[in-house]
């Protein structure tokens, strides 16, 4: 025991830290120029309208430094460059210290990944999963990848498997695109809280999760509508208008993620089914649900896979509660109100077929075809009049770790 500890220690001393990293070089081609398909809502432009063949949607590069401080304590720093609200400007996605006093407890503090769903905190690492990118209908609306705070994982063996409970709390920092060019929603100082329960056996993982985000800042495109609804002039006619503005506003409103997932992994076979529900206390963001099912089967170095994913608005009522036909200005306001809400409906279905080929032990290349059908425009950008709601993407991605 002592000798092993010394050896491990010696290895640590000879290297002050370990450096590792990951990256993806991806290219995507869209069959339509009438819309931009984005990987997630943090991306302002994507493939199709802006560029019919695009290298930026999936490409990224990450570097990680790990340093062991003692047998129970280690630290990590991760920097990732990817297309997001800050273009490709590198971001610190991890900066934490971890304390693991025993097998049953892990404590971390600092900048941590937001793993609201299975795989959510490793979704930049294309090498680790079978797709070119995590299903957009499911992961695309996830606007947080890290937060500053702490988390705790308790785990215990339970009838042949491991039961884990995780809780976390902190504040978000990132920005997300609002859908209009150069207009961003800042999540800065928004409070985040959540946890999950996970049970893992040799072949199965089950997870139930809950998270909530309390918005600190207003959604910028709403501001003029809110100002109008709060104007004394309008409230003289319609006393409920100001209250309507408060119901619509995002400031101090809670946004909740509920998720359930099951993954099966048995030798060459991998399958996952995930479900989520996103809802908010703001009238502005109606409840949306999403799910995906994916199955892949490895044959030597080849892993063909398919994925079906879909998102749906739960309830499509945009009653603005403003009296119509009284005054053209109020009518216009009612239209703006309804538009603001209907832009947040999320109805999209994707069927993907692909194959991963393991090039080496630390690199792979993937080819994927996505058939996307969009009925509400929450997850797309720059949609042009006359777009039929369909897009087909062909993607090739080279992924590596080191």
């Amino acid at each position: 025991m002592l000798t092993l500890a010394t050896q491990v220690h010696a290895a640590d001393d000879s290297k002050p830290f370990t450096i590792s990293g990951f990256g993806t070089l991806g290219v995507v081609h869209s069959n339509t120029r009438n819309v931009d398909i984005v990987r997630d809502l943090t991306q302002n432009d994507g493939v199709g309208y802006t560029r019919q063949t695009d290298f930026g949607m999936d490409s990224n590069f990450g570097l990680q430094l790990n340093k062991s401080v003692s047998d129970n304590t280690d630290t990590a720093l991760q920097v990732v460059s990817r297309r997001s609200a800050n273009k490709f400007q590198p971001e610190v996605t991890w900066a934490y210290a971890r304390y693991v006093p025993n097998d049953n407890l892990q404590l971390r503090a600092g900048r941590l990944g937001f793993d609201v769903y299975l795989l959510a905190d490793s979704r930049n690492v294309g090498y680790t999963y079978q797709w070119v990118r995590p299903p957009i209908d499911f992961f695309g609306s996830l606007i947080i990848s890290y937060f500053d705070g702490g988390d705790m994982v308790l785990s215990t063996p339970l009838s042949g498997g491991i039961l884990r409970a995780k809780v976390f709390a902190g504040v978000a920092r990132e920005k997300t695109s609002t859908g209009s060019q150069d207009d961003f929603l800042s999540l800065n100082r928004s409070r985040l809280l959540g946890g999950h329960l996970e049970y893992q056996t040799s072949n199965w993982i089950y997870r139930l999760g809950y998270s909530q985000l309390t918005f600190k800042n207003e959604f910028p495109p709403l501001q003029s509508l809110l100002d109008n609804l709060r104007s004394p002039y309008l409230n003289a006619f319609i006393p409920s208008a100001a209250g309507l503005a408060n119901d619509l506003s995002l400031t101090d409103k809670k946004f909740t993620y509920l998720s359930a997932g099951v993954a099966y992994d048995d030798g060459p076979l991998q399958a996952q089914l995930m479900l989520n529900q996103l809802s908010s206390a703001s009238l502005f963001f109606p409840t949306n649900r999403a799910a995906y099912l994916t199955v892949g089967y490895r044959i030597d170095q080849w892993t063909p896979y398919f994925t079906y994913s879909a998102s749906r608005p739960v309830n499509k009522s945009t009653a603005s509660r403003l009296p119509l036909g009284v005054n053209p200005d109020i009518d216009m306001l009612a239209v703006a109100f309804n538009d603001a809400i209907s832009n947040q409906y999320n109805r999209q279905t994707t069927f993907s077929l692909g194959v991963r080929y393991d090039l080496t032990e630390k690199s792979n290349v993937k080819l994927q075809v996505d058939n996307i059908k969009t009925d509400d425009y929450f997850l797309v950008r720059n949609n042009q009049p006359g777009w039929n709601g369909k897009a087909r993407l062909i993607s090739i991605a080279y992924n590596f770790i080191f």
């Binding site: 934490y96 097998d103 680790t128 491991i162 490895r298």
Partner: protein
């Protein structure tokens, strides 16, 4: 007929490789207090899910560097996965700050040296390399 021949050839090939894989055994220190491990316990140790054994002690699994073919055999035998899949698994945990792979050593001799001098160390070696310095605690052939 040709199809049948190929099928038989494949089965024969599979059988031969399976037998070859079964030549690996998992070992521990004779003073470790560990008599036998179940396949699930070995999987839990090597996939980083649980270090604590039924005996109450914490085990430290040793792995081989990727250049070693025994490593590929071991994971094929244990979880029916190839090395890119094992690397994917660990990369996912490492790059999400949830754990790191077992300590890597260069050779079977190094495994023998460390296991024979450390009560907590667990390793895998070819059966023919077994000697009195270590105890076999998991035999996939059984």
């Amino acid at each position: 007929m040709k199809v049948l021949y190929h099928l038989l050839l494949c089965l024969g090939f599979w059988g031969c490789c399976h037998a070859a894989q079964a030549d690996l055994v998992v070992i521990a220190n004779p003073q470790s207090g560990i008599e036998k491990l179940s396949k699930d316990e070995v999987i839990n140790l090597y996939m980083g899910r649980n270090r604590k054994l039924a005996s109450g002690m914490n085990a430290k699994p040793l792995d081989m560097t990727a250049a070693n073919t025994e490593k590929a055999k071991f994971y094929a035998l244990l979880v029916n996965k190839n090395l890119p899949e094992i690397n994917s698994y660990w990369a996912r945990l490492m790059f999400s700050g949830q754990g790191s792979p077992p300590m890597q050593v260069e050779s079977a001799d190094e495994v023998m040296d460390i296991v024979s001098s450390n009560k907590a160390a667990i390793g895998y070696i070819e059966r023919k390399k077994l000697d009195k310095r270590v105890r076999m605690i998991y035999d996939p052939a059984q």
